[in-house]
Subunit: 363 residues, 4 copies
């Protein structure tokens, strides 16, 4: 099989690099095009990395040789790749939305890590194990925008991926979840590079991450919601409250979660059983980036821990532990996922694999 | 005024050292006696510190020259000091209780940092700004034990001191608090020395501290309770749930708190006003270790932070920030206190100052 | 005595803040003026701190109320202060030199933390305990520049202050030092704020600090040199080699030093004795910022350590330890000083105190 | 090919775990036996890990099922494995020597990570790329001890592996090295678990590691020496001086090195060329654990860095950077290797592969 040529937009940033790292040796996709800002355009990719290669291992040599395109040159991209991963890190959301729309209009599906389009009514926000069926809005999205083969899919914020899959697994089995109180301990890589100042996290933690609590509280409702008439209607009946903290950990977001169920409440054993047996489309379809077991429960009293558990199953599994009865709500637990793999580039790749397998990506 | 001679039991441990550091130049009290295990007894204090001086600055020279007594030699202590601070760090709670009883029986009031007597019905667990009136059980405690001048007072666990004073301040103004969900990010000094292994907190956090969540959930109920018939009856109507995490911070416990009030709910402005004007006995009595303002509210969006706020007002004030309305409960906020000063030795000294000022310490 | 009004240039940066923090309650000097870039000018100082107060404790309230002047408005400064501390952090050295010259020309002595004028032939680079007599070039400097009361004094880079005083103490006693090989482990605060990216120092060290090794190797030669004909001639006969590393420590630069003497070699006992008895002008003149004992030798096998020793004697003393015979050179040792106090603002204040006491500052 | 059964002595410690982790899926060797102290003996290996699995990833399931033997039961080991890796972490060197001798006497070659036998005259201390020919002393060692098939090979301390290969590569090309001054920044994993206390390395570094400088200075002389008459004679003419520091890094020892050559001095270009083309027996023999390129030179100005470079080529390559002319000696550079892989278990496995390939291991 010939691999499908893909492009990475915002390729010089940390998320862009992570896409390139993870796509190396991907069985279906191959990075054929990289684009960045005009300052980088025209340089070889390896020369355009002003802060160097930030994501571990070595820059794949073949990608290092690619000449960086200008992100605004959509036509150039269209010649080189079948679809794109959007890894923009710039603050201008309007501009990101505009770019992503232009790529979609030029027949290139866009899988975006940026938050710009997360609020767009007809753009699915995908966690592949939770709402794979949200991809089915694509034809409607294309129709509404007048796009033929292009479309836009986004992945949610990295902060919620550590806890939402375990919660969803319980909901899927018929246990209504009404309240969630969550405190996250988030890794510094979530802020990119240079990102968090070292003086903020050496002998310190910071009880605030700009915009993060809002995303943690709101994005799950869209993910758990349903499409009606070509637009997503948020899930109702679930209230989420989040504290987001920055801690001196390189990778891996940890969440401390209190959960209140509706009338029907599972036992501890039922919860454990549900988590251990939970499988979804990525597993059924045997997608390359799918973790074999999406939720790994750890029995040790002091797990999950970021350094020890973030890399579980290619850094794509969610590790959960410390499930115990709660004196205020029903249960509490701790959960963890790798923020720049599962919570960013890896999650984006998994969504693209899913879309490809479902036939939405023409090539 | 001649200073009152005090002893420190368990003087070579980290909490014992902290007492000695903080008592240097105390206006009322002077360390006249130090006691430790038989292995250390007979040595000069400075020679007995096998891990060195761990608590910052230099070992006070005068104390360094003291000869360490054996903790089991209560008579020796009785000759040298009017009361003692108990800083035992050994795991045997029965033995600690036995020692503390013996010192009390020998006419020496005991102010204890250990958890051994926290569950004892007639032993007051004091946060000086919250339940100073609990000291009034002392005559009853003496009567029940047949002690004359001795008695036992304990301070609570360090994990709850960051959030309980702000919560109490609201309760005191008539706002009933019904539910608290708390996640703590706790400093490594809380585990003493050598304590937490570096491999557990470099590029890592640990979502578990042995026994800490139980203390965080239960001890507040005694502190907020009332004495009836010579025994403390826990406060009712408040449910607390805690997640306790260890983070790579030297000193300063941070708590992320969600609070649900009863029917009467304060506004954000009322809460801020209550916190800023909160004063209690330590302030009224102008005790040496009393922070001028027990609760300092910080307006910056990203405070309190351990390294920046732990030392506020001699490390005795609680710093609070990020008060905001909560989508699940009523309000949420972050709060912080210095775990080895306010949460340990400093809190013990403040309790002793209070007891002295109230006339319970004869000399 | 009425305090002397001083100004701080570059007041909003981290070094500027450190000056303001340290000068609070100074017995001789009082911050009467703060200046920064045009963007900050006109605002109250407390409003101009876009990254907040970074240097510990609280911003002194009185200084917080000062209106920030524009650094280019030299006349405004001249009305408000007798001399200035220059804490510029901008990269343009030419511009810094120009500003410092303008302030000096306007009758304001300048004590600079910037590196811009360190290479200027007639500008003394002062470590108050080492080369106080270098201040005597001031009249010559004024004559050469046509300045009346103004002049420029600089302090050296923070990286060399941990080891140069101990080395100088030995040279002063007649032991010629021929070779020094030094490896530093430097704190992140040396790079200001935001400075070092957290991803560079969590679970990591960086064996490189831009420009730092050159300064560490060259600046000592000027400090140890002598003025001849109104210009400083570097010390000869001493070769220095430096490796400079960045480590995840907030404050405190540590140096590992190998030293080769000339023909006359001291014994270990002589070295210890020299260090312990070393005193210089700041001590003799009892300057407010002078450490009582400039070099503190620690006997413990594992000291000095940044967190434990950086604050020795108001963070102005150099802590030394581990003196041992060397299998390649003659001796080796480890030494440490606080980089933002002794190595920056505190060292600048001490130089100003010295100049004042010597009569160079008119007021 | 059937795999060779190997045993791991001291299997529950951190080095023992690392051996087990690295040997999983080894093409030649298979862990068939694990032994530890009497307290662990008789338990399943997975149950015997009182501190859990410390070395990343998951405990290999098959090994977890093995029943732990008592290290003193040499006969039991002899039945199950052809040779053993010794990963003893206990302080009693005499006892380790005794055990290792007993295993060798029982026909089991011993590859030891312990320091106990490093000083033994006829025991080769192997870095496979440097002194593979030292294995040729094995027949002599067997003869002297009256052993038939057993023998003892040790690997050196982890602190010197980061710099010795680059130095040796230059010596091999005829450039005599006369002086080395080295400062190491060593990872916490070097001390095992719990090992370094977190209070020693959060916001801190420690300029001392017990016994480490002596090993760093002396062991290279044996490695570079030659066997004469059945005993190793240390290399002469090279003086080494070391400072060893502990820094808050999980894995990866960094060394800052100053090197003085004899009369014949290479140019910078020659050095770079020598390093890049350096190959030795492990590469020629294509040993499974051999890095393809033993010395990787990095051109970036700020490399090598522990987190970014420790895993180079299966964590078996040495990364070098910052080669520059030295103002005191001839050249200086920074180098880095993974302390628990290249510097411990991985180095031991490579030595065993070499011995196997050379025919010293019968099976």
């Amino acid at each position: 099989m010939q691999k499908i040529a893909v492009g990475v937009l915002g390729a010089t940033g940390m998320v862009g690099q992570q896409y390139i790292r993870l796509l190396e040796n991907h069985p279906w996709f191959e990075v054929a095009y990289v684009a960045a800002s005009p300052q980088s355009a025209g340089k070889q990719y390896k020369e355009a990395l002003k802060n160097g290669w930030l994501v571990g291992g070595e820059l794949p040599a073949r990608v290092g040789e690619l000449v960086v395109g200008d992100v605004s040159d959509v036509a150039a991209a269209a010649k080189k790749c079948a679809f794109v991963f959007s890894a923009f890190e710039m603050p201008e959301k309007d501009l990101i939305r505009q770019y992503e729309n232009e790529y979609a209009a030029a027949d290139m599906p866009v899988f975006s890590n940026a938050s710009a389009h997360r609020g767009t009514d007809n753009v699915p926000m995908i966690i592949a194990e939770i709402n794979p069926h949200h991809l089915d809005i694509i034809p409607e999205q294309q129709k509404q925008n007048g796009w033929k083969k292009g479309f836009i899919v986004v992945k949610p914020n990295c902060s919620l991926q550590s806890y939402l899959t375990p919660i969803f697994a319980l909901m899927k089995e018929g246990y209504e979840v009404e309240k969630l109180i969550i405190t996250t301990l988030q890794a510094i890589s979530g802020a990119g590079y240079p990102g968090v100042a070292s003086l903020d996290v050496v002998d310190n933690v910071v009880p605030y991450i700009d915009g993060e609590e809002e995303k943690t509280e709101n994005e799950p409702l869209k993910i758990l919601g349903e499409a009606k008439g070509g637009t997503f209607v948020p899930h109702r009946g679930l209230a989420i409250s989040a504290h987001c903290n920055r801690v001196p950990v390189t990778d891996g977001h940890l969440a401390c979660v209190n959960v209140a169920f509706g009338k029907k409440k599972p036992s501890r054993e039922e919860i454990l059983s549900i988590w251990q047996t939970f499988r979804a489309d990525p597993q059924t379809l045997d997608l390359p980036f799918a973790p074999k077991q999406p939720i790994i429960y750890r029995d040790e009293p002091n797990r999950p821990q970021p350094r020890k558990d973030r890399d579980a199953d290619k850094a794509m599994a969610v590790s959960v532990g410390r499930l115990r009865e709660d004196s205020v709500f029903d249960f509490k637990f701790a959960s963890l996922s790798h923020n720049t793999v599962r919570g960013a580039a890896g999650g984006g790749i998994l969504a693209a694999e899913l879309a490809y397998k479902k036939g939405y990506i023409a090539h």
